[in-house]
């Protein structure tokens, strides 16, 4: 019998907020008029070509979208509708992004 109860919680372990230099990918949602929404993906790593991602996502999610250049935040992907879960799944599964680097905002 292994001693599981000994390694249950380590109070001296580094807390989650240990280092703040995280490059999060922020997935946000914005309300438009009526039931319509807009999903934005901000902070994609440089190695990823947002246009390619967009092209794939558009086909995969059957939605439209665009890449917007932001002076501060670089290129941001916009997608029509609430694609937050789908895009994060896509990034985790086929782009090798860790779930912990993705922050989904909104309600």
């Amino acid at each position: 019998m292994s001693l599981d109860n000994l390694k249950s919680f380590d109070p001296f372990a580094e807390t989650d907020g240990g280092d703040d230099k995280k490059d999060y990918i922020h997935i946000r949602i914005q309300q438009r008029n009526g039931r319509k929404t807009l999903t934005t993906v901000q902070g994609l790593p440089k190695e990823i070509d947002p246009k390619r991602v967009l092209k794939f996502a558009k086909k995969e999610f059957a939605t439209n979208g665009s890449v917007v250049e932001d002076p501060e935040l670089g290129e941001v992907i916009q997608l029509q509708g609430d694609q937050r879960q789908k895009i994060s799944d896509l990034m985790i599964t086929s782009m090798g992004i860790k779930k912990s680097n993705i922050k989904i905002h909104g309600f």
Partner: protein
């Protein structure tokens, strides 16, 4: 489609949970159980993941540089696999993800460090749930962790069975035996106690006599009144009891408002009665989830999970000081991030 449904179900789950939270205000005992069950689902997941993987790697919330290094290597191996897989998915390689590009992405992506979001996971991580954990040792409902524990016990029990068929299988039986002093616990019974039995007995007694000690430091449920949300006109929502909630959380309402606006990607104002008017249509459950995230991020102590904390600002950085265990952690400032241009283009140009 299916994902949407999934989400809905999740949202629904959350609301029911929060509704429980409402009820808790009125009648405690009833909902505490419900919460404990909900809470322990998470803990069960944690437990299983920990148990399955064993090493620190399993726990996403702990930052382990060695884990990253480890992961880097397998990725490279994987690349070749992906190179074959990717075109299959896309049908035509030209339009979809170029496997080569994927390779690049993959190898470099590992640079990004392991997340602190781990604890938050997929956004369904829930402070109230988390805090409600301690009740998991509720007797009547063998809950998540108990299940895990019990399964093992049962496994052990099965092994034991060979020589001792009388070993109690379920917790209920076990407790009944324990309570009545029957089975192994009978005075005249000479069979030696198993370590697992004694351990279980210890936990049961501990829970009965000192419930607050059996959890891992989280003393009691944290409750805030549910947000009261009403619609004003067609395009605005009113969050009526924000001052009350802010007072309960001991936070500056401004800070909460800022967070809400940043999360919802909208703006609004505070009216004369202190109510918050938010632009856009929002439902109660939506604000609940936002508040929940606020609690996780800016209220709960990172070490002891207590919500009894104070938020301080020191040279432009926000710190959360715990009043219980005295720990201190820095929290990120609220950022709005990218805001897509909505509305009419003509207006924008003008």
């Amino acid at each position: 489609m299916s994902e949407e449904e999934q989400k809905k179900s999740v949202a629904f789950g959350e609301t029911t949970d929060l509704e429980n939270g409402e009820k808790v205000e009125t009648n405690e005992g009833n909902t505490a159980e419900g919460h404990s069950v909900a809470g322990t689902n998470i803990s069960a997941d944690e437990m299983t993941s920990r148990i399955e993987n064993g090493d620190a790697d399993a726990d996403a919330s702990t930052f382990d540089p060695s884990a990253i290094k480890k992961k880097k290597k397998p990725k490279k191996e994987k690349e070749s696999e992906n190179g074959e897989e990717a075109p299959k998915e896309n049908g035509d390689g030209g339009e979809g993800f170029d496997p080569k590009l994927l390779k690049k992405k993959r190898s470099k992506k590992t640079k990004t460090e392991d997340g602190e979001l781990g604890a938050e996971g997929d956004g369904e991580f829930d402070p109230t749930k988390l805090i409600k954990k301690p009740k998991r040792t509720t007797k009547k409902k063998p809950t998540g962790e108990d299940d895990e524990f019990q399964k093992r016990l049962e496994e052990l029990g099965l092994e034991d069975k060979k020589d001792e068929p009388a070993a109690p299988q379920t917790q209920e039986e076990f407790e009944a035996e324990l309570a009545q002093g029957g089975g192994v616990w009978a005075q005249e019974n000479a069979t030696p106690f198993k370590y697992s039995q004694l351990l279980k007995r210890f936990y049961i007694n501990l829970y009965e006599d000192h419930p607050e000690l059996s959890g891992d430091g989280r003393l009691k449920n944290y409750k805030i009144p549910p947000p009261q949300v009403a619609r004003e006109g067609n395009k605005k929502s009113i969050f009526a009891n924000l001052p009350e909630i802010a007072k309960k959380m001991k936070r500056n309402p401004e800070h909460i408002i800022q967070f809400i606006f940043a999360e919802l990607g909208t703006n609004g104002s505070v009216d004369g009665a202190g109510r918050l008017v938010i632009k856009g249509r929002f439902q109660q459950k939506q604000l609940e989830s936002v508040l929940r995230r606020y609690i996780v991020e800016y209220l709960t102590c990172g070490t002891c999970k207590s919500p009894n904390t104070t938020l301080m600002k020191e040279n432009r950085l926000f710190f959360v000081n715990c009043n219980i265990c005295g720990s201190r952690k820095s929290v990120s400032a609220i950022k709005t991030g990218f805001q897509a241009a909505l509305g009419k283009r003509k207006k924008m140009q003008a």
